[in-house]
């Protein structure tokens, strides 16, 4: 199910391209905000929760998920280099699964790790806040990567759709329409974080059983469907 050559090509493509700069910018920004907030406001659980929930989980994790998830396959489909993977006796689901592993690893590295560091800076993991949000970031990394990898496989405008989902659906609709929050990776991951953190530190609109089921369901279905789409990927449509 895992092909080390596909993995190598994927992570080199992801970390070598210009778009990778954003992967570094957002975590640096988060840590900088954490340092500034700590310096001006001191250690405060509520503020720490606000920064990690409002910026790290709501903005940074989905954005990095979009970059890593769509970037793991989208550019190869766009420039046609995917043909060198497809013209091989390698099972298509293996290609997708391997790319998912790489996208998840990159998203976790660039979102969960800085979330933990920022949490430590903000309040030294008081009330388990740093750990809780880090777990939320880890869990969200998996679902976002699967979702955006699927988008990258089926659409040439994956980044746009990914951003619309992450910023418009989750951030805007999520804050205006309570029902939209049920269908939000962010809320599902916060539901997991809620269990870890101290009483009242993290809140989610979705119960843990439903959130877990949806996280697993979305990841599995998106990965399976991406594998099916890759099996039938049509490389020529120009003529």
């Amino acid at each position: 199910m895992y092909d080390p050559t596909v993995a190598r090509l994927t992570y080199r493509a992801l970390l070598g391209r210009r778009r990778a700069a954003i992967l570094f910018v957002l975590p640096v920004l988060l840590v900088a905000i954490a340092v500034a907030v700590r310096a001006f406001a001191g250690a405060d659980d509520g503020v720490a929760s606000g920064v990690l929930g409002g910026f790290a989980i709501a903005t940074m994790v989905p954005l990095i998920g979009v970059i890593a998830g769509t970037g793991a396959i989208g550019p190869e489909i766009d420039d046609g280099s995917i043909v060198y993977l497809l013209a091989k006796p390698v099972r298509r689901p293996t290609i997708i699964f391997t790319k998912l592993i790489v996208a998840v690893a990159v998203t976790m590295l660039f979102s969960a790790l800085p979330t933990f560091v920022a949490g430590l800076i903000l309040n030294g993991n008081g009330g388990q806040i740093a750990v809780a949000y880090t777990i939320a970031a880890l869990v969200a990394s998996i679902a976002y990567s699967a979702l955006f990898l699927l988008l990258g496989t089926v659409s040439r405008h994956a980044v746009v759709f990914g951003l619309v989902y992450a910023l418009v659906w989750e951030a805007l609709f999520g804050s205006l329409v309570p029902g939209a929050r049920t269908l939000s990776v962010q809320q599902w991951s916060l539901s997991v974080a809620e269990k870890v953190a101290g009483e009242g530190q993290v809140t989610s609109d979705v119960g843990l059983p439903l959130a877990t089921a949806l996280l697993i369901g979305v990841t599995v279905v998106a990965t399976w469907y991406a594998g099916q789409k890759l099996r039938a990927l049509k490389l020529a449509g120009e003529e």
Binding site: T5, R12, K234
Partner: protein, 303 residues
């Protein structure tokens, strides 16, 4: 022996029919797929390569369906026309990755790089390669598993004459070894130099198939049209029409020129300057008015 069979295959994109009820068999040796730009050659190659599903009909490799069948890539090597090819890798890393995806090691990659004579630049990034070098590395990636079928989409595009000769020599060798080599081109001379067997595609239809010389004769024996301006158009017309190589002449008053239809291309091309000289007529313009490949192909389709 490996054979690709295309059986009553069509492919359309929305309302556009790119390939229209084509049947052909591609066997060992070098086959040229010839046709003007946009004729459907790439679509056909993509169906043979398993990158595109036929809308109707079937494309098979030794009786096995190619579409959605990863196992066929054990026997097929593909050189795509598009340039995207992991530019951030070196040539060696690229070919090694291709070998690994076939379950092979570095030795296979080195052998393929040696075959295309690219060892000298193998440690340079692909992004620094010239068009010809990229083409050769693509070839190496296609040859790495020693395939019995090689499909190349417009492999000579953008290559300089020396690189073209090298690649032709390589393909000739592959064909002589008994591999099934199919390459597409819109340039008659390329196909003429390399393939003894050609398949002609025009506007998605299979226009001709078989020995190149026969098809070439069909193409060159067709009536040729010329636009000629001279110091005395009517005297020239009178002298030319007396020869059987000329089928018809029209005096185009508006253009101030003669429109000549020649039936014997070879004879007419020597006749025209001779007649002009003998009659003391100066030729001001001699331009073939239907020399484009498209018109050659259209004639072939109509024939």
């Amino acid at each position: 022996m490996t054979t690709i069979e295309i059986d009553h295959t069509s492919r359309w994109f929305g309302n556009v029919v790119a390939v229209n009820d084509v049947s052909m068999t591609v066997g060992p040796g070098v086959t040229g797929l010839l046709g003007p730009n946009g004729a459907g050659k790439s679509t056909l190659i993509n169906m043979m390569a398993g990158f595109l599903a036929p809308s109707t009909g079937e494309v098979t490799l030794d009786g096995t369906r190619i579409w959605r069948n990863e196992a066929v890539y054990k026997s097929i090597g593909i050189v795509p026309e598009r340039e995207g090819m992991y530019d951030f890798l070196t040539g060696r890393e690229f070919v090694v990755a291709n070998a690994e995806l076939h379950g092979l090691g570095e030795a296979a990659a080195h052998k393929a790089l040696a075959t295309v004579e690219m060892q000298y630049a193998q440690d340079r990034k692909i992004s620094t390669y010239s068009k010809g070098m990229r083409q050769r590395v693509k070839m190496a990636s296609a040859l790495v598993h020693d395939p019995s079928v090689l499909l190349l989409d417009e492999p000579f595009n953008g290559m300089d004459p020396r690189q073209r000769m090298q690649l032709m020599e390589l393909l000739r060798r592959m064909g002589a070894e008994g591999r099934t080599v199919l390459f597409s081109s819109h340039i008659l001379e390329e196909v003429e130099q390399l393939a003894s067997h050609i398949e002609v595609i025009v506007a998605g239809r299979h226009a001709a198939s078989g020995d190149f010389r026969k098809i070439r004769r069909l193409m060159t024996d067709r009536p040729h049209r010329y636009l000629v301006r001279s110091s005395d158009d009517r005297a020239l017309a009178a002298a030319l029409i007396a020869d059987p190589s000329t089928a018809g002449i029209e005096v185009d008053v508006a253009e101030g020129a003669l429109r000549i239809q020649a039936v014997d291309f070879g004879r007419f091309t020597t006749l025209l300057p001779r007649v002009a000289r003998e009659n003391g007529i100066r030729l001001l313009t001699v331009s073939p008015s239907d020399e484009s490949l498209e018109s050659v192909f259209s004639y072939l389709v109509a024939a």
